[in-house]
Symmetry: C2
Subunit: 443 residues, 2 copies
């Protein structure tokens, strides 16, 4: 497939932060062939008019639970314990394998629509999610969540061996668009012996791991009591940060400066989900300090039961706004810095470190944003427009590996009407609501 995008403006996110006006972009196969002018003999299968549009590297979501779309809006304005025990676990206990398919497909649609082409997912029945990723044309790093305690099958989980079999079966699938990784839930839930088994299997298969880490002061205290180590030091001692592929950890709200240096030295990727922290009333991780220690922090949504949606444009915006305000410093978190965290660091966290730059030879993971809506005018600063005013409604075209996934409201790989219907009726079934179109919420 050869695509020619004509007369567009590219926010390249290259080393010099170049913004290139009035360029053509040639996509060939899975790569960007040329930026500026296509070779004279380039014969495109499709030509896209890029005027009044801005091309930007596609976004990646470094940590989520995609199928939790089914619980969007199901637990609002509640304290964490009630949110989890009275609402989320009750709904999750009703999950069936096919629900994951439709919940994840809905998440895929929502992500594509807001310019996201890849995500790191950590949930149950991940073979179903892998099928959705394969069909949708997206990229993903998939971990089958395993608690390692009690009867893991309660919430759709399977045995340790089955999660490992998933990792072996699906790694590299869909022409390399799918990476898999080990999915222990966390060092505070998963017993030491099970964590060690994960390390051994990761070494054998040649993958990494993805888990929750240091989310609260309480977790740190408990870890110090049980193991004499903070959670990052403890998982490092177990070998979880020295696997064949990089480890990805979510959150680190309570990471100490020593923890931060350790995670930086290990090259561990950390997913930062600011909307979830604020919405659930959690402590905000010290992001500037973490970046100052050299940590590799990618932006992410977490699941929509907490984050409400999968809008990475909003996550970038919240990150910039939060730190300018918290540090009382408008120079904190410049606009291209949050763009890089989403397009580059998150991409690398998901296993696609070449993505995130519009340049010849790079993967053709990019989008075109329509800049003609009133909130873009005047177009003094396109990077600021993307970070501080853009909506998913501005996303006009989305390519992943050179394949067009979305065009002006049309999903090219997903049956959005079927997905919406299936996801809503299954979500309502899970919580015992009748499916009566828009009536059920008022029950």
């Amino acid at each position: 497939m050869r695509t020619l995008i004509k007369n567009t403006t590219a926010v390249t996110l290259d080393a010099g932060d170049h913004i290139l006006p009035d360029v053509d972009l040639a996509l060939e196969g899975r790569r960007i062939l040329a930026v500026g002018q296509a070779p004279p003999d380039f014969a495109p299968d499709e030509v896209i008019d890029g005027r009044e549009m801005v091309a930007v590297p596609a976004f990646f979501n470094a940590h989520c639970h995609a199928a939790m779309t089914l619980e969007r809006g199901w637990a609002e304005d509640l304290p964490f314990e009630r949110w989890l025990n009275e609402k989320i676990w009750v709904a999750e206990s009703a999950l069936e394998a096919d629900d994951i398919t439709w919940g994840a497909a809905l998440a895929a649609a929502e992500m594509i629509r807001s310019g996201v082409v890849g995500f790191a997912d950590h949930y149950f029945w991940m073979d179903k999610v892998a099928e959705v990723v394969a069909d949708s044309g997206m990229k993903a790093l998939l971990a089958w969540c395993h608690f390692g305690i009690g009867d893991d099958k309660e919430v759709g989980n399977v045995s340790f061996e089955e999660t490992v079999a998933f990792v072996e079966t699906w790694n590299g699938a869909a022409d390399g668009r799918i990476h898999t990784t080990m999915g222990p839930h966390s060092p505070y839930m998963t017993p030491t012996a099970v964590l060690k088994r994960f390390v051994a299997e990761a070494q054998r298969i040649g993958v990494g791991a993805h888990f929750h880490l240091s989310e609260s002061d309480e977790q740190v205290r408990n870890s110090l009591e049980r193991h004499g180590l903070t959670p990052p030091a403890y998982v490092a001692e177990l070998g979880l940060l020295d696997l064949p592929r990089p480890t990805l950890v979510a959150h680190c709200n309570a990471a100490t400066p020593e923890d931060q240096s350790l995670l930086a030295a290990k090259g561990t990727y950390v997913a930062h989900t600011p909307k979830t922290y604020q919405k659930l009333g959690m402590a905000m991780p010290p992001l500037p300090e973490m970046l100052g220690h050299g940590m590799r922090v990618g932006l992410a949504t977490d699941g929509p039961a907490s984050n409400s949606d999968f809008n990475m444009l909003e996550i970038m915006r919240l990150t910039g706004l939060y730190w300018k305000g918290a540090l009382r410093d408008p120079e904190a978190m410049p606009r291209t810095k949050v763009l890089r965290m989403t397009a580059q660091t998150s991409a690398a966290a998901v296993g696609f470190p070449e993505s995130g730059v519009i340049a010849p030879g790079r993967p053709a993971d990019l989008l075109l944003l329509d800049t003609t809506a009133p909130h873009w005018i005047p177009r003094h600063d396109l990077a600021a427009g993307i970070v501080y005013t853009a909506h998913p409604g501005d996303v006009a075209y989305v390519w992943c590996d050179g394949r067009l996934l979305y065009r002006k409201g049309e999903f090219l790989t997903l049956d959005i009407d079927r997905i919406s219907w299936e996801a809503e009726r299954r979500a309502f079934r899970m919580v015992g609501k009748p499916m009566r179109s828009l009536r059920a919420y008022a029950a």
Copy 2:
């Protein structure tokens, strides 16, 4: 004009926070005639299919500088002094009267598109803004900003007498959709003698005042030094909080508990603009404490030179998220509370206290949001959907005083193509950029 909205779901924001599924809404003239079922003899001029939509009272923006759309994106990631002195004032010094027309028209379009039907504006050449409000079908409270120092005409301002003449000429215009109010810049800029003249003229004409108040600790210190009073106590002593119509003040970032009690007792409206505070690195006003003192706080954007846009959906979201996070309490700022601050308190601050509820007899200021996009599914909680996931792209219909202003991407009162072109070329002229469509940003 009679409009019948059929089979919709209404988030009424009435005293019981009722959400009414599958209702018809009948609009007659400028009012809501019926909620539930139209009278048998109701003969609508237009019938709207409200299925899969949610009706909600329209939003109001309690403080902005509408024509500053022209400076959107012109001063990014800069410290406040450089933002103001090197960028904003430089651009504003190039403002001409007609620029205000197109800048304000762009703001009007952007507000309508995100569900806002009324705003409090505080800027220059306000007769131009009044014409835009009249033509657009919106509602507004308009103040001609007057510093009262030096040559006020420098930034398009006029004499004290001329700003007062504007207030007299335009108050009650456009069938009562336009209210006017006195516009001293602030107690820190405007001399005491000038503030006293504003009080006398407001009393004579029967209006209120709108100005900036207590934005920083420095302003409080200076006021204590000069007047022996905090800024609110000082303006109260001058009579600025006891005018014939309620006074509206912006910000109060540094209001003391005594100030808060005073402002509450006076019935003063306060505009809260969280995105601007964060983006410019200002202190966040203590909103829960202010509400606890009984202050009337409406949400607002401020100008897009700081806020970037006029998206009140985002302002609601930021308000909820910020306080849940800052107080470490997910029960802080429930979703209907921030909805009420925007639909009701902001409406009252703009001078339309009857708006903000979907009920018979109320003004027909309302919108329909399309809930079929992926980020709405499943529709477990529509109020949460509005506050935590909705985008301006979901706004399908907007009525103000029973008149339809916007229908599925189409502006019914504004020539959006002309407005976008005029606003962009004027904005580029102001900062000396050539107008070459999308090329100028990269200069």
